[in-house]
Symmetry: C2
Subunit: 394 residues, 2 copies
């Protein structure tokens, strides 16, 4: 049997992705891994999980193990509605916020349609956009609001002048993946203004928002314009990623399309997991646990920042995020983090090359480091190891 | 904000489906519902689930709540490998067998490609195929093997003469959804022969196979030709659908493409649920529970068959399935189960109109009835109600 002639063009486009093997080839638990976006396993309160699960079984019985509603179980939508002040009819539960990205792309983008995003941006989103043969265009960040607006307006103008449809702008406004940076209120307002002016949606991907370690929260883009924004949330960083659960807030007309699409994707999100999430949130365990996670991650962020300060060569710079899981390193121009990867890995340290997050393949002198997953001791060893390797190469 | 001009053509194609609202409009628990393909909630051993979950947490700790491998956790793939005699490298875990259908279609079908299937066929599969703009062609069942072969060969010949690519044949060989019928070994061999002769794959959807109440098992199509078949399995009917878990057996080259696709769909299947499934299977609880489910469903099937015999008008006929969850009714030609649905529902009984399972919109005088979900008492009330309504209409 020859399979090659059977695969779809979509399938081939997937394989143009440079990152397909990152997480397949190596056991990231066996080395000093700054690569994955994993929460720390110590943030999972195992005893509370046990008692929550038993409580769910006692409370809901067989219902917790049956098929559930495609939009998600009512009890979970209710606690989310209460927590975030969003009406029930604007809430769709997803089987992970990655699915949220995928399903939004699927209902919105035809081949060749333009999707705008920051550059760099989350690689899992770029991979999903490309799989639908969308034309992904990245816009480099500008610190000055006027230049910020001008950069996006230039990208919009270019797409429109080519006769292309812009379907949405994808953005991670809080503690961005990979950069760790947060958009100001002014920048959020500019994006909404542009979306409404030019008639596209904003997909606001917000998995890290509640993991803030310093500074003041900025309003979500969704809160500025609920009819223009699809807001994607995730339980992975505030509860546990082993339950694959996320949510979408959006206009009921758009959610109705997502509902039908989700029916043919997987019928409904995991039902038992949803009841456990609802019980965990509703009982106050989530908030109690989140406070502990925030303390833990703040100390890890501070540790990594101080280690970078102490050990990194002078010509390396990095971002100082107020929250989230990542910071972003920039090496001198001539450094190539893609070709350096095998050296690093064979010496026992892993990261994700910054160019994988770029829409244009640039930024080969950058890398993303995760600070949430490893123990302080392993973070220390890993940063010293990485700094030594970088010094020997630069 | 006008959304209409933002939706993809895919989205519009979804909305051509006549079934989008079946499960949205009514609470199927509140009426006599023969509509859903739900297992009976009494088959869920709640105390065993509790102890299994606690055992998983004690055994795996935080690992059970972290991100997991995209191909599924090793422990679950191992028990499946052992149970079904399939090598590990041929096993991919999915977040439901509905996702299995969707992901196979996505990696194989470009717009306009032909997908062959029986007519009628599972409506959730038809919906997924159409969402990728595939050209779905149904072949009516023929009882005689020569005519069976000729019918499929005619459909193949027609597609090829039109210059179309045939990507795969989708088939539910055991206790088909909706008909309840099972393909003979001869028919399975013919399908394999045609697939190999004309160079397409067979997607064998097999969620009901282990629910056999009478007769002898027929080998899976996969066992006849493991390199030509993608076999989709499901935990929904043998464990619980509230865990969204299924599997694909197939050639490693094809699974490798599915792996990459699944990364961008939802990163990995639900991790905790997978460990629970592995523990439940590995400990022998699944087999013990399955025996009880089979006894329960056999008695419900027999009850429904005897009620149909006793109460249905003379000009109604039905299939007598050896397993699964469904049987299929045929009324006289002039009867229309689509327009009759509102009458039935307002009188407290639900079914799925047979034409929704057809690739050509035909079979409006047929309907699918589920016999697994309701209690014997509700089945009795529902069949008497339905028979009375049918008699008054015919």
């Amino acid at each position: 049997m020859k399979y090659g002639n059977l695969f779809s063009e979509d399938t081939y486009s997937f394989f143009r992705s440079p990152v397909r093997d990152i997480f397949k080839k190596v056991d990231l638990n066996a080395i000093h891994s700054f690569a994955g976006g994993y929460p720390s396993s110590e943030t999972f309160p195992l005893d509370t999980f046990k008692s929550t699960m038993c409580a769910v079984i006692d409370k809901y019985g067989g219902k917790a193990f049956q098929y559930g509603a495609t939009q998600g179980v009512t009890e979970l939508r209710e606690v989310l509605s209460h927590r975030y002040g969003v009406p029930m009819e604007r809430i769709q539960i997803t089987s992970s916020s990655q699915q949220g990205i995928d399903v939004c792309t699927r209902i919105l983008a035809d081949p060749g349609d333009v999707i705008l995003t920051s550059n760099p941006s989350y690689l899992g989103a770029l991979q999903s956009f490309r799989s639908y043969r969308a034309d992904v265009r990245g816009v480099a960040h500008e610190d000055d609001p006027d230049r910020f607006r001008a950069a996006y307006e230039a990208a919009i103008g270019k797409a429109l002048s080519e006769g292309r449809k812009i379907k949405f702008l994808y953005m991670i406004p809080d503690f961005q993946n990979p950069s760790g940076e947060t958009l100001s209120i002014k920048e959020r307002e500019i994006l909404v203004e542009l979306a409404e002016k030019y008639g596209f949606l904003i997909v606001e991907d917000s998995p890290y928002r509640e993991l803030r370690y310093s500074g003041e929260p900025v309003p979500t883009i969704y809160s500025l314009a609920p009819d223009t924004v699809l807001h994607l949330g995730s339980f992975s960083k505030i509860f546990a990623p082993g339950f694959r659960l996320g949510w979408i807030f959006g206009h009921p007309d758009v959610l109705d399309k997502i509902y039908v699409c989700k029916q043919s994707l997987d019928l409904c999100p995991p039902v038992f997991d949803q009841y456990v999430a609802a019980e965990f949130m509703g009982s106050g365990s989530l908030d109690a646990n989140l406070l502990k996670s925030i303390d833990l991650y703040r100390s890890k962020r501070d540790l990594m920042l101080s280690l970078l300060e102490e050990y990194m060569p002078e010509n390396v710079t990095w971002t100082r995020p107020d929250g989230g899981l990542f910071l972003f390193l920039t090496m001198p121009e001539h450094f190539d983090s893609v070709s350096f990867y095998d050296t690093a890995l064979s010496n026992g340290v892993a990261y994700v090359a910054g160019s994988f997050f770029r829409t244009d393949g640039g930024g080969r002198n950058t890398m993303r480091l995760n600070f949430s997953f490893m123990t302080p001791e392993r973070i220390r060893e890993g940063i010293i190891l990485l700094a030594d390797l970088l010094r020997s190469r630069m």
